[in-house]
């Protein structure tokens, strides 16, 4: 019995001592380009560290963290209590949440769409199916075609909870596998509307959004997101199982440094400070 315990302890300790500096990052599709840029630059400066980045969605990343198959999970929404509970059961840890950047959720329409602005309430009514024609919000007389993300997306969850007040999406929503696919669909659909990270808003038009009827409308640019005037903003998170140490701590510290935050701006998101 003693031998058995000794072998187990030796095996466990040796695997810890000889662990390589390989950091795996998985999760949010919204953050995948940002995470890749961070990793590329950091590896260039620190060749002894290998960082592997993959997407899949916030939900997928959180599952990977719970299963121990990723070191860092990128998430564009906070972890749910049920997910924290699973992490607790597997690792006896609550996980550590790190805010890495800010993002404004842009409302996209086709460049051909003449709509000038929308209130948050109108966006909610459009996505819950209460408003179905563009003329109801000052546009042309044409049916609104809804594009959304799939339910494993952190953006989907954030939008549902914070814009739709947790009401259900209209059944007519077409769910797209990623923001790039959503943007592509809207660029071809003059009656389409979609949402996603500001960094993705290429080839289509972002609609200025008002908090309510009495407010001014703002675009999701750096100034408006940082000041909080743009009404649909969120944090982009990293989650790790335990308080980061060693190579992972150095990497996360670098992400939060001035240099790491400058990448945030280059990719199209907004720095924390």
């Amino acid at each position: 019995m003693k031998k058995f315990i000794a072998i187990i302890l030796l095996f466990s300790i040796s695997s810890l001592l000889f662990a390589e500096d390989v950091i795996t990052v998985k999760g949010s599709d919204t953050m995948v380009i940002l995470a890749q840029r961070w990793a590329e630059l950091y590896m260039k400066k620190n060749p002894e560290v290998t960082i592997q980045v993959t997407g899949g969605g916030s939900g997928t990343g959180i599952s990977a963290l719970i299963n121990g198959t990723t070191d860092i999970c990128n998430a564009s929404r906070p972890m749910k209590p049920s997910e924290k509970q699973k992490l607790k059961h597997r690792f006896s840890s609550l996980g550590v949440e790190i805010k890495t950047a800010k993002d404004g959720i842009a409302i996209y329409v086709s460049e051909k769409n003449p709509i000038k602005e929308l209130t948050v309430q109108q966006v909610k009514d459009i996505y819950t199916g209460k408003i179905t024609n563009w003329k109801e919000v000052g546009g042309i007389d044409s049916r609104i075609i809804l594009y959304s993300r799939e339910n494993n997306s952190g953006t989907y969850v954030y939008f549902k909870e914070n814009v739709l007040d947790d009401e259900d999406y209209s059944p007519s929503c077409q769910n797209m596998p990623g923001t790039a696919a959503l943007v592509n669909a809207i660029s071809k659909d003059p009656n389409g509307i979609g949402y996603g990270g500001a960094a993705y808003a290429k080839g289509i038009r972002e609609v200025p959004v008002k908090a309510d009827e009495n407010s001014s409308a703002y675009l999701p640019n750096a100034e408006n997101v940082k000041s909080g005037q743009y009404p649909i903003t969120r944090f982009l998170f990293m989650y790790v199982k335990s308080k980061p140490t060693g190579a992972m701590k150095e990497y996360i510290d670098w992400i939060l440094s001035e240099e790491g935050q400058s990448i945030v701006v280059k990719v199209g998101y907004f720095p924390l400070r």
Partner: protein, 476 residues
């Protein structure tokens, strides 16, 4: 000529490989246009061929556009099926194991009955498929309804584990209503999935009070995901009160409930969860012989009134449970879990599993508990220690069992078990478990006759069990 061959290749690639992606189709188109320009540049010396090529190219582009349209139509059709497929989830896990005991299976006393099933007579080691689960779930996220069916396939055959319908309230989305066969909402361990549980089996207490864990009934659950109440949960259900998938045998229903809380300290990665549970039910006696224990006399007294058969007798449990976690920097998370249950249980002379028999009914007061300590080492290794106790008759000492003038039974024996384990998570699918449990029974009065069924319990029976288990789960 080469250009058209190349275009054909692009077209073929697009048709065969890139069918699913419109963006990629357009990318192919762009490549085609790029090569078209190259061709024009290369053929400047022959303007006639340029005119012909342009025409043909335009036709090809039109064809490509048409092709894209048709791909779009196919995709839309496929999407409707894909949407259904996304709602359908298949998950499962299999646990295969080798077990060895320091004793040999005997007709006189059981070995391994709380470690995966009693060893057959004269058998001291065995291979088993302990669990072979396949779970099918269909979730409609618009109506918040869920269908769940879980099978268990082992060397003993096929069984149903879960079969229920769950409906979430569409307004605040914090309430669930569930009906069918599912885990009884009592304590922590009963509802803690075998897929995730670190010990091979639940404690003797949980297995005795809730054999099979599940039960036929209906339950409401309050478990908010957002808002101020996320750290509280409540489950309250009404159940048949018989074995998991057995038919109801009386008109009374059992009520089971648990109120739980979570106290997280995110800054220091510490949390304490806990809950209190209640089971209020009864069983119907099929015998007129009802034995109740008289504590002062240390005797079971029998009531044999004919009308006793068909009467209901109290089955009542109370429980408290707590789970503490703390993430130790550089080492890994530590978890300490405990549960203490007590109450009254109708059983038989040889067993304190709840009464569901034609034998005389024995009413006993019991208590039981377990404490477990789990230490993570990194992300792949876990060390485990568990101590569990079940005293089925808390009013009777072992030395009184078999004593002259007393009538204590095998079903009154107290057991304590120490379990030591190591778990290795190879990847997100495979887990290895090494677990050794040392089972200690209460010893009976030394004066017990050799011919008595109590005789083997004059000393601690050799019934320790070592388990080596491999678990494979999917998807992950």
């Amino acid at each position: 000529m080469y250009f058209w061959q190349f275009l054909d290749v692009i077209y073929t690639i697009q048709s065969v490989i890139l069918k699913e992606n419109i963006v990629k189709s357009f990318f192919s188109l762009l490549i085609a246009v790029f090569f078209f320009h190259l061709t024009i540049f290369a053929q400047e010396e022959n303007p006639d061929s340029v005119v012909v090529s342009t025409k043909e190219l335009q036709e090809q582009i039109e064809q490509l556009k048409l092709h894209n349209e048709s791909v779009n139509e196919i995709l839309l059709d496929m999407k409707s099926y894909l949407d259904i497929a996304r709602k359908l989830k298949f998950t499962g896990y299999m646990q295969t194991q080798y077990q060895g005991s320091n004793g040999i299976g005997s007709a006189q006393y059981p070995i391994g009955n709380f470690a995966g099933g009693t060893f057959p007579t004269n058998v001291g080691s065995r291979f088993q498929v302990r669990r072979g689960r396949l779970k099918v779930q269909f979730e409609n996220d618009l109506t918040f309804s869920q269908y769940v069916l879980q099978f268990d396939v082992t060397q003993n055959g096929l069984g149903i584990k879960d079969a229920y319908i769950n409906i979430k309230d569409p307004w605040v989305k914090s309430w669930n209503m569930r009906m069918g066969v599912f885990d009884r909402p009592f304590g922590f361990e009963v509802a803690y999935s075998s897929n995730f549980r670190e010990t091979p089996e639940r404690s003797r207490m949980s297995q005795t009070l809730f054999p099979g864990e599940r039960e036929l009934g209906a339950m409401i659950e309050f478990a908010p995901e957002i808002g101020d109440w996320t750290n509280y949960n409540l489950k309250l259900g009404v159940f048949n009160g018989v074995l998991p998938t057995a038919n109801e045998n009386d008109n009374s229903k059992d009520i089971i409930g648990r109120a739980g809380f979570i106290i997280p300290f995110d800054e220091i990665n510490f949390a304490f969860d806990g809950g209190v549970s209640v089971y209020q039910g009864s069983v119907r006696s099929n015998s007129k012989f009802i034995y109740t224990f008289n504590e002062s006399q240390k005797l079971f007294l029998v009531d044999s009134t004919t009308a006793n058969a068909g009467k209901n007798y109290e089955r009542q449990y109370f429980g408290v449970d707590g789970q503490m976690i703390y993430d130790i920097p550089l080492l890994g998370g530590i978890s300490i879990r405990g549960e203490y249950d007590f109450g009254s249980q109708p059983g038989t002379d040889g067993s304190n599993v709840f009464y569901n028999s034609t034998a005389p009914l024995y009413q006993r007061k019991f208590y039981g508990y377990y404490v477990s300590l789990l230490q993570n080492i990194g992300t792949k290794h876990q060390l485990l220690l568990r101590y569990d106790v079940l005293d089925p008759n808390s009013e009777l000492e072992g030395s009184d069992i078999g004593a002259p003038g007393k009538n204590g039974k095998i079903g009154d024996l107290k057991y304590s078990t120490i379990g030591l384990g190591y778990l290795f998570h190879l990847d997100d699918n495979v887990k290895f478990t090494f677990y050794y449990e040392m089972v200690k029974n209460e010893t009976v009065n030394s004066g017990v006759a050799a011919s008595s069924t109590l005789a083997p319990y004059k000393t601690d029976v050799n019934d320790n069990v070592f388990t080596f288990r491999i678990q494979y789960r999917f998807p992950f």
